[in-house]
């Protein structure tokens, strides 16, 4: 996380070799990436861009999703099979023959995600995946990421969505002015006022609610982060039913 221009996208582009460091090294799974081409890194690291239109370039979604697969050696049959499964997972079944450019912004984001997910990278980096997604799609995305992570995939997510992070990610790295200013458990990083200030973040809605309640009723903790906790606290205050 970090404010606009802090260097988040620039940092992540070093992970898949699109940008090479001026100083220092980027070591991927024990190998210095300076010995690896972008194509070689692509077998391990999948990057989903902030603007899907920057990575969509074919005239059908099926071609888009099978492109990566065929380039890493999948047979046509296997590629098609994986493509179908990936499309179903992302709620895009039935869209295979459509042009990506005939879809809405949010849908195109999912196509870009599908084209990267299909290759089952060991490291998945997503640049602002929740932008333009409705609540239902965000929920499905998080389920997908959790499932991938359980199966061993490393997930790196650039996002401004503080609730998305607090509810789902154990570790948060905060950046400002090209530097990492905090790196640790999400709870400790995102309850640090200096971090929130320097990264231009605002408190999550539930924390604001908890603080407002705590101002009036000291028995309510001002550090509640779950909806159910807030509900229970209010129910208790109002003496139950």
């Amino acid at each position: 996380m970090g404010s606009n221009g802090a260097g988040k996208t620039t940092l992540v582009k070093h992970i898949n070799g699109l940008i090479r460091p001026n100083n220092g090294r980027v070591i991927l799974d024990g190998t210095d990436t300076k010995y690896m081409s972008v194509a070689e890194i692509a077998r391990v690291v999948g990057l989903v861009w902030q603007n899907p239109d920057h990575q969509l370039f074919l005239d059908s979604i099926k071609k888009e999703v099978t492109f990566g697969l065929k380039n890493i050696g999948f047979s046509d049959a296997d590629a098609n099979d994986m493509c179908n499964r990936t499309l179903v997972r992302l709620g895009l079944e039935g869209f295979a023959e459509r042009s990506p450019f005939s879809l809405s912004g949010g849908e195109r984001k999912r196509v870009a995600l599908a084209s990267v997910l299909a290759t089952e990278p060991r490291v998945l980096a997503l640049d602002e995946p929740t932008i333009g997604q409705d609540a239902k799609q965000k929920k499905k995305l998080i389920e997908l990421l959790k499932e991938l992570n359980t199966r061993g995939c490393t997930v790196i997510c650039i996002t401004h969505d503080i609730e998305f992070v607090i509810e789902n990610f154990p570790r948060t790295i905060a950046m400002a002015d090209g530097k990492i200013i905090a790196d640790g458990s999400t709870h400790s990083v995102l309850t640090n006022d200096v971090v929130l200030e320097r990264c231009s973040l605002t408190e999550p809605e539930l924390t604001i609610a908890a603080r407002s309640l705590n101002k009036r009723f000291s028995q309510v903790s001002n550090r509640l982060t779950l909806l159910s906790e807030l509900e229970d606290a209010i129910t208790e205050l109002l003496g139950g039913i």
Binding site: G2, S3, N4, G5, T9, Q50, N51, D53, S102, L103, S104, G105, G106, E107, R110, E128, I131, G132, Q133, D134, A135, K136, Q137, K138, K139, H160, I162, E163, C199, S200, L201, T202, E205, L206, T207, I208, A209, A210, R211, S212, L213, K215, R216, F217, L227, L230, E231, I234, T235, L237, L238, I241
Partner: protein, 280 residues
């Protein structure tokens, strides 16, 4: 006066199988602040495009019904005729940045509308200040981050001083603090008389400023009313629209038999309501 009058309007993009907009009926009075929301693919962007004439003049397809903007029917009036009335900020700001630096970008619109050069200079300087673009003045729009591009696109549209500002997720690439700054500016412009139509998923940011929320699903309008009424409806959860957390808490409590009375949109409003109920 009715600034936007959409009557039984339907639209299908050329080559598409289904209608993007189905018999839309929508009237917007001057001075309103409308928020349009709904699940991915429901027609929000298409609706925005009907206001400045990109539908049907740039995005060709089948149309039925009429869209009348400030008295001009968009079947006859073209995009340049509508540009001084309706300004559209695109979902993807890079698609509307056309010059070599920010100054030129902000001047482009008013220059094309024949605005006096001194006035153009005033508008450019004023917008650079308001939208915090000074450090980007000489920078090439395509060398900026998504968030910076978004601020430039908003400024370039405001430079034309349109009667209605239509903005398609204008803060999506911005960090929360910058988003609040922009929305505050838009809210202030609205109080000064500019009509606003905003497409937004993050209702917690805009629900309080909006005079009306319009919910869309699969090309149709499924709800239209004041924020507190619409966000309390069950259809929001059914179609997957994210409502403010405070409103969610209100609804959960109501289901358990606890009625807080008014629908809260923020954590602070929620706390005030709890206090009131408790003291009764």
């Amino acid at each position: 006066m009715t600034l936007v009058d959409i009557n039984d309007f339907s639209f299908k993009y050329l080559g598409a199988e289904s209608l993007a907009l189905k018999k839309i009926n929508l009237q917007i009075e001057a001075g309103e602040y409308i928020v349009i929301t709904g699940p991915s693919g429901c027609g929000k962007t298409t609706l925005c495009r009907t206001i400045n004439g990109l539908v049907p003049h740039f995005h060709r397809g089948y149309i039925a019904g009429n869209v009348v903007i400030d008295g001009l029917n968009t079947r006859e009036s073209k995009v340049p005729d509508l540009a001084p009335i309706a300004g559209l900020v695109f979902q993807n700001p890079a698609n509307q940045l056309v010059t070599l630096n920010v100054e030129k970008e902000l001047a482009f619109g008013p220059e094309n509308l024949g605005v006096d050069p001194t006035e153009i200079r005033n508008r450019v300087d004023s917008l650079i200040e308001t939208l915090d673009l000074e450090h980007l003045r000489e920078k090439h729009p395509h060398e900026m981050s998504g968030g910076e591009q978004q601020r430039v696109a908003i400024a370039a549209t405001l430079a034309m001083q349109p009667k209605i500002l239509v903005a398609d997720e204008p803060t999506s690439n911005l960090d929360p603090k910058s988003a609040r700054v922009i929305l505050k500016i838009i809210s202030e412009l609205n109080k000064e008389g500019m009509t606003v139509m905003l497409v937004e998923h993050r209702l917690d940011l805009v629900a309080r400023n909006a005079t009306r929320i319009i919910l869309m699903n699969q090309g149709s309008i499924v709800a239209d009313g004041p924020s507190r009424e619409v966000l309390a409806l069950n259809i929001c959860d059914e179609i997957g629209v994210g409502i403010p957390k405070a409103t969610q808490v209100y609804k959960q409590l109501k289901q358990k038999g606890i009625d807080l009375g008014t629908v809260p949109l923020t954590g602070e409003e929620l706390a005030v309501l709890v206090e009131e109920v408790r003291s009764v």
